[in-house]
Symmetry: C2
Subunit: 390 residues, 2 copies
Amino acid sequence: MPDRLPFDHLDERLARAAWSRLTEPDDRAANRLVATLGAGPALDWLLEAARGLFRAVPTEPPRGGWRTAAARWTPRLTDLDPRRELEVIARRGGYLILPGSPAWPVGLDQLGESAPLCLWAIGARNPATLTASSVALVGSRASTAYGERVTTDLATGMAERSITVVSGGAYGIDAAAHRATLGVYGPALAVMAGGLDRYYPNGNSQLLAQVAATGAVLAEVPPGTAPMRTRFLSRNRLIAALARATVVVEAAWRSGALSTAARAAELHRPVGAVPGPVTSAASAGCHRLLRESRATCVTDAAEVAELVQPVGTALPEEPTVAAGLLDDLDLEQARVLDALPARGEAVFGAVVRSAGLDEASVRAALGFLELAGRVTREGSAWRRARVPRG
Amino acid sequence: MPDRLPFDHLDERLARAAWSRLTEPDDRAANRLVATLGAGPALDWLLEAARGLFRAVPTEPPRGGWRTAAARWTPRLTDLDPRRELEVIARRGGYLILPGSPAWPVGLDQLGESAPLCLWAIGARNPATLTASSVALVGSRASTAYGERVTTDLATGMAERSITVVSGGAYGIDAAAHRATLGVYGPALAVMAGGLDRYYPNGNSQLLAQVAATGAVLAEVPPGTAPMRTRFLSRNRLIAALARATVVVEAAWRSGALSTAARAAELHRPVGAVPGPVTSAASAGCHRLLRESRATCVTDAAEVAELVQPVGTALPEEPTVAAGLLDDLDLEQARVLDALPARGEAVFGAVVRSAGLDEASVRAALGFLELAGRVTREGSAWRRARVPRG
């Protein structure tokens, strides 16, 4: 075990990046520890725990207790190096998003202790604004021509309405949703189960690179993390939380897409299911949702759009504050603001690396942000200005 | 206008047959008049009304008043001859069923003032027992190969469970339901919108003759009545009331099958809808029912059977009394009992004509019924014995 960490662990960005490496997704104990102590001090607590010194945590212990939690985190303390992972994501044009920052999709906060500790992102558009009006189109990898056709129709209809199509980048329905969205230059968002150092599955890597080029690709795990079955399941909660509504286009009787629908329902988000031939096993999961009254029957884009924004209602309330904070920032400006630590300061070169942008762009963005009163400078060090929220 | 009617209008059988000619289906005023005065005295009332003499009816007047009602009935007093119509139905092997008689399906009573005044029937099996466990499979005339295949699967599954398949004898889904039921020797019931002197549509007449040969074909209108659009709509309430549950297999956005579903819902009977491809207009009505939560999604025979007899429930209560009355009668005995007037007596020859059976069969049936205490004889005249109900 290291005596101390080989990076500035009180830097919120590095600390949260580190925690996303130490934990598996949806680790409620880690979330509680970080929320109680702060991400950096929580790393101190873990280093001490690794040496057998358990400091009391001033909050209710998690299921299984703090010792058990620490025991599953400490093995990954070895070789922990979030700076390296931030460099990897920056080289791919990506960046890290911290909770509460302008690019943070507020829909995630509804997950409570299941919210991700941070988001790794690659993409041209701001995930917060992308998700303000959005629908998840999900379904079987083993899709049929019927399912793909319907997915294409629905995704095209969403693009026409400027509703972002969120999906998981898998073969089958996911890929059809992304492909159709890109085909009409609609807003696209993909959420990966593994790290963004490479896109999975390999056969969709070009498609996902296009999603990143015009929309965004997100993951809660750092680069170098392999997609595994459990990570697909926990990834589904992010899809449900990032979209205003979830629609299952095709799903077998037991299908991962049904777990996304279940997570959406837990969040009280609308769930839709597309019916299909009763003779098709690929629609059995959709019919199950309909039969158990866990989904609304949707048959075209207008009906899906109604789930996202019911007739006679105003725009959804949730994203208003965050959207307000970002409305006057372009993506580069938002990224640079995100690149600044929540507390403390950063030198120009560090901001450049964090933002994943060239120096000239960062300089221009910092200049704008300074004029807008969003950042302040002391010598070569930049820090965020306090912005009134709401 | 005739001064008097050319038949014994105080004979309940003749009087109700006459009223089924005088009125269009679902005439609530006629139902109320007959319920208040009795069918025969109600004819007296109408004869007087035809001469401008309006006797007070000791009940609440119908919408529009009694004069308006009488005005729509009196034109058909001319040439009223229910004996001739009973002969027509008898020549086709048919008979008349009066409310409360052993062949009367008790499910109809739930229609209240919309119940039919009598039923014209042709068939080998007792409609009361046929409908004790039954499901209506209805849908578009403009069916698809998919809809017909699903209908065949469902009807076959019903036959395997001894659940009677009720339908309307039309082309498309109705015909597929009847055909599949007959194909596996299942219990079949068809309800016609026109008189049973000929089956409509003509192209299905052989199919409907087969339904009659093994099950039953019913109508509330007398022989010689043409099927008309409004009669199809009122016929749908009979289908809904005769079946324990109604399932729409395929229906366009506006379809008569949806009216059957609506009538079933009014009767608090379960309604099912079979989903199909969203690209098929023939399934749009089914999806509409699902989307508006007016039907349960059903995808196979087991799910349809569950509508008829929900898991964990006992046999439906409604038919118990009537089934009890009939359990020890075979169809010929039940028909002969039905052929006797509710009040008053009938000579042997009249019973033969009413029952639509040969003399030997009627003689045997009367003998059995006499031994069972169901009928009594005075000379050559037969009358029903009072049977304790319930």
